[in-house]
């Protein structure tokens, strides 16, 4: 059956075409193009849909996003605020809160007492970065890091917050950052997906659902592919018992032949996507076991990442795996860590979380640097928002909690063309409002895209009659943090 009218699913875009197949089709000359036009005039190739090159020379060729789900507390890790200690237990002044909405969890509290950080701060490195005593390893690579202390978002709860950070919209359904990159830049290594997601195997915390790495309205092959910390890193990849690789190959080839006949009649982009994914799955049967096998890693490297490096599904192992994927040309690797949502027991929570994440995060920087990869690998660290300067729940002598805070939080970046040993943005003495150089999530996205060589205003996808962007109609490149 053929479709005389375009469907409402991004039909008119060059869905499912890799840069390579695009070039191949062009290589067939105008005859090839004309045939495609005859079959379906709307399938005429539009080179702008998929970038045939970046807009400017990229500083970063790949991104490793160490996502800290739950919202790490900025004033206990990065943003030193002695005034909170001085006014510990006193009420949050209304002049500081300025009518900021609170979550349902602390909005009914009769009192909002300020809570100073139980951690001590010191200056580290030649850049004299101020860091919490909870981050002894991050402190050792402080001179490689660009801290952005003036991040802000509109979201005040995890779902919208993570969606915002991942997709540029609080409302679920838009494509994630990694999917946009896969769509725009394609893959460097055809044997692996260009967007890989690594999650912690254990532990509670806010759920991490696949919509955070979904391709939304982009072709499905740009979905983030989750590598699991299990015998099968990618589910249903291995051949069933009794099926040889050769017979699987033959089966896929036959299926492909059918698909291509169908495609010649209907030009259905979903089919092109199917073909691409079958082929990718077949190639991943060989490439995934190779990349996930840590047995060849020398002990000195394992030691860098700390004692958990060989325990699959830990943050340490995932950081190590992220480096291996980066070496193999994966464009966007997202390592999720959970458990930063410290509504209560914050001091213990921070100790526990930093014990899991501090050394592996810093080790990743070290490891990339040793291999000469830090220059063109952008490492990003942070969560969906920050935490409040006031105590949520009961405050005791050595225990308290912090609620969600969207008005300011800290993220850091390293490598990939950001200014090392630099701190951007200033928050007020209460760590509540931004005083200078606020960076919205859209600005972060625009800046990351800039480092990847993409003008964020020029990577679009037409869907439901509108040209969508990751940054919607917002976003400015934060020039001061560029190296």
């Amino acid at each position: 059956m053929s479709h005389p009218e375009p469907l409402c699913t991004g039909y008119e875009d060059t869905v499912g075409l890799s840069r390579r197949s695009f070039l191949n089709k062009l290589g067939m000359g105008f005859g090839g193009l004309a045939l495609a036009d005859l079959v379906n005039p709307l399938s005429a190739l539009d080179p702008s849909a998929l970038l045939s090159s970046t807009h400017i020379a990229p500083k970063a060729k790949r991104v490793i996003f160490l996502y800290q789900s739950g919202g790490p507390s900025q004033m206990d890790l990065f943003d030193y605020k002695p005034r909170l200690n001085a006014e510990h237990g006193q009420e949050l002044p209304d002049s500081v809160r300025q009518g900021q909405r609170l979550t349902g969890m602390s909005t009914n509290q009769s009192s909002l007492p300020l809570a100073g950080s139980p951690f001590t701060f010191d200056e580290y490195g030649e850049s004299r970065a101020l860091l919490s005593s909870a981050l002894p390893y991050t402190a050792q690579v402080a001179d490689e890091i660009c801290f952005v202390k003036s991040m802000y978002t509109e979201a005040i709860n995890h779902g919208p917050g993570v969606s915002m950070m991942q997709t540029g919209s609080q409302i679920p359904g838009r494509p994630s950052f990694g999917s946009w990159m896969s769509y725009g830049l394609g893959s460097m290594n055809d044997n692996l997906p260009s967007y890989v997601v690594l999650k912690p195997k254990t532990g509670g915390g806010q759920p991490l659902t696949s919509r955070y790495w979904d391709a939304g309205f982009l072709p499905g092959k740009h979905n983030g592919v989750e590598f699991r910390a299990d015998k099968d890193a990618v589910l249903y990849l291995n051949n069933p018992q009794g099926v040889s690789r050769r017979s699987r190959h033959a089966a896929i080839e036959s299926l492909q032949a059918f698909h291509e006949r169908q495609l010649a009649e209907t030009s259905d982009p979903a089919l092109e996507n199917h073909i691409a994914q079958y082929e990718m799955a077949f190639r991943m049967q060989a490439s995934v076991p190779e990349v996930t096998d840590l047995s060849g890693e020398p002990q000195s490297v394992l030691d860098l990442y700390g004692p958990n490096a060989t325990e699959p599904g830990t943050f340490a192992a995932n950081c190590l795996l992220a480096r291996r994927l980066a070496e193999k040309g994966v464009r966007f690797i997202q390592v999720f860590e959970k458990g930063w949502d410290a509504h209560g027991n914050l001091p213990a929570n921070i100790r526990n979380q930093t014990k899991k994440t501090d050394q592996p995060s810093a080790a990743l920087i070290k490891d990339l640097k040793m291999r000469g990869m830090l220059d063109d690998t952008l490492v990003v660290w942070g969560g969906e928002f920050g935490r409040t300067n006031y105590c949520q729940g009961k405050m005791t002598a050595d225990n308290f909690g912090r609620d969600h805070h969207p008005r300011c939080f800290t993220m850091w970046m390293a490598g990939g063309g950001v200014k090392p040993g630099y701190s951007h943005g200033i928050t007020d003495d209460y760590c509540y409002n931004i005083v200078q150089d606020g960076v919205h999530v859209h600005d972060l996205h625009a800046t990351m895209m800039h480092l990847l060589g993409i003008n964020h205003e020029r990577l679009t996808f037409k869907y439901q009659g509108r040209h969508f962007r990751l940054t919607d109609v917002h976003g400015h490149v934060v020039k001061p943090i560029l190296a």
């Binding site: 990229p58 860098l304 100790r351």
Partner: protein, 467 residues
């Protein structure tokens, strides 16, 4: 009523040209016939006196109406008014003396004709100053004439911008644009809308309608709002059908405001990107000195042909132009399993010999003998040969790479004996040598050598604090 006054007042600038022409003519004619008594003085001259007088009175009346709109330099305006009245009065006297009383004497001709000419030019000049600014007349005058007229000698003009990167953002970009289109009305003698656009400080003071420029905020910057209006809009600037900014000039003004309106600084210090530089070049009509270097700092080359890229792609390379503006290629190679990169692969790279700037052959199984071919890629800036069994002797051909800046040799079989080869690379900035036999002692004297060390181990905290 106010509208009617202004409507009529605006006719002043039209009507005033009649008395200037008529009275100048008749005054000269009177002088001529006064000095040459035997010449036949036509009776028509009397009628011309009458016409001149009537037009002068009308122009003066309209001028008074125009003055009610305000925005003119008060002192100049008053003088202009007085001299305008003198002109009208002299014209009336001339009509009465020559036309009605029939005076023909030399004395009468010199007195009335002379006064008429002086009054006419004085009033006219003052009027011109009101409209165009006092600088207008002598703006381009030679310095001796300027000093005679009581003006400062022309300040040495800024050297025309030749290198846009070194242009000053205010003196070479913003100020010339304002002078071109805005300052004729927003200068100290014609402060239209209470706004002065002649100096940075005055721009920041704003005018009657508020801030002309709010750094970083276009919608709060009246200047931007008005130049961006539809030309039919009442508030559109420049008003009165004067030549407006071009699209590029408008964009540059907006760019400057968004860039928080810097008062000084070269465009390169401000880190202006290439797109904006192009825009500024168009706006101030500077022929940009064509850069002879690519985005990467290499000589400009035409893009690698699609056939070559396709050939490399079909062999399994990932070949991408470095950017849409660059002719150079970024090439990666990722293998599956342990099959080494073939000589056919390496030979294929020579098809893009001049185009390859970034080449990643890390962990490709590359052999020593293949490096000779790679050393022919003379535009290489970044080369990754890491995790390959290459040796000290194998990398010797690389010393012929004139542009190489970054060389990755980590996890190869090189030793300290490789360093003399690296020393010969004139532009080498970084060489990654971790996990090789290169010793720290040998590398300390080489600023390019990068060998990272591990962490200072932090003692584990006692279990109590770990939940």
């Amino acid at each position: 009523m106010e509208d009617l006054i202004l409507f009529l007042g605006h006719f002043h600038v039209l009507a005033l040209h009649l008395p200037i022409g008529i009275l100048a003519f008749v005054a000269i004619a009177e002088l001529y016939f006064g000095f040459k008594p035997n010449a036949e003085r036509p009776a028509l001259v009397n009628t011309i006196w009458l016409l001149g007088a009537v037009s002068a009175v009308i122009a003066a009346g309209l001028g008074y109406l125009l003055s009610l709109s305000g925005g003119y330099n008060e002192d100049t305006l008053e003088l202009h008014l007085i001299w305008g009245l003198i002109t009208s009065a002299t014209a009336l006297i001339g009509w009465v003396a020559f036309g009605i009383k029939g005076r023909r004497g030399k004395g009468w001709a010199i007195t009335i004709g002379g006064i008429q000419l002086v009054a006419l030019f004085t009033a006219g000049h003052l009027g011109g100053n009101l409209t165009h600014g006092p600088e207008y007349l002598f703006e381009h005058a030679p310095n001796p004439i300027r000093s005679l007229a009581g003006f400062e000698p022309k300040s040495a003009p800024r050297t025309p911008v030749s290198d846009l990167a070194q242009a000053d953002v205010f003196l070479d970009v913003v100020q010339p644009l304002l002078e071109l289109r805005c300052v004729t009305c927003h200068n100290p003698s014609k402060i239209k809308g209470g706004l002065l656009l002649d100096t940075y400080a005055n721009i920041m003071l704003g005018g009657d309608s508020g801030a002309a420029v709010t750094p970083g905020n276009l919608s709060a910057s009246e200047l931007s709002v008005r130049i961006n209006h539809d030309p039919a809009h009442d508030d559109y600037m420049p008003s009165g059908g004067k030549t407006p900014f071009t699209a590029a000039q408008t964009q540059v003004m907006d760019w400057w405001i968004l860039a928080v309106a810097p008062e000084s600084g070269t465009l390169s210090d401000l880190g202006v990107d290439t797109d904006t530089l192009d825009l500024i070049a168009a706006a101030i009509e500077v022929e940009v000195t064509v850069s002879h270097l690519d985005e990467l700092g290499l000589p400009i080359v035409t893009a690698a042909s699609r056939d070559v890229i396709m050939k490399l792609e079909s062999l399994g390379f990932d070949a991408t132009p470095v950017s849409e503006k660059s002719g150079y290629l970024d090439i990666d190679f990722y293998r599956i399993g342990q099959e080494s990169i073939s000589d056919e692969h390496i030979a294929a790279l020579l098809q893009a010999r001049d185009h390859i700037a970034w080449l990643n052959l890390g962990n490709s199984g590359l052999q020593d003998h293949q490096i000779e071919t790679i050393a022919q890629l003379s535009n290489l800036l970044k080369l990754d040969l890491s995790k390959n069994p290459v040796t000290d002797t194998g990398i010797i051909p690389l010393r012929s790479l004139p542009n190489l800046q970054t060389l990755n040799l980590h996890a190869t079989k090189i030793t300290d004996d490789a360093l003399p080869t690296l020393d010969k690379l004139p532009n080498l900035e970084q060489a990654f040598l971790w996990s090789t036999a290169v010793t720290t002692e040998a590398s300390t004297t080489r600023p390019y050598a990068r060998i990272e060390t591990g962490f200072i181990v932090v003692p584990a905290e006692d279990d109590e604090s770990n939940e």
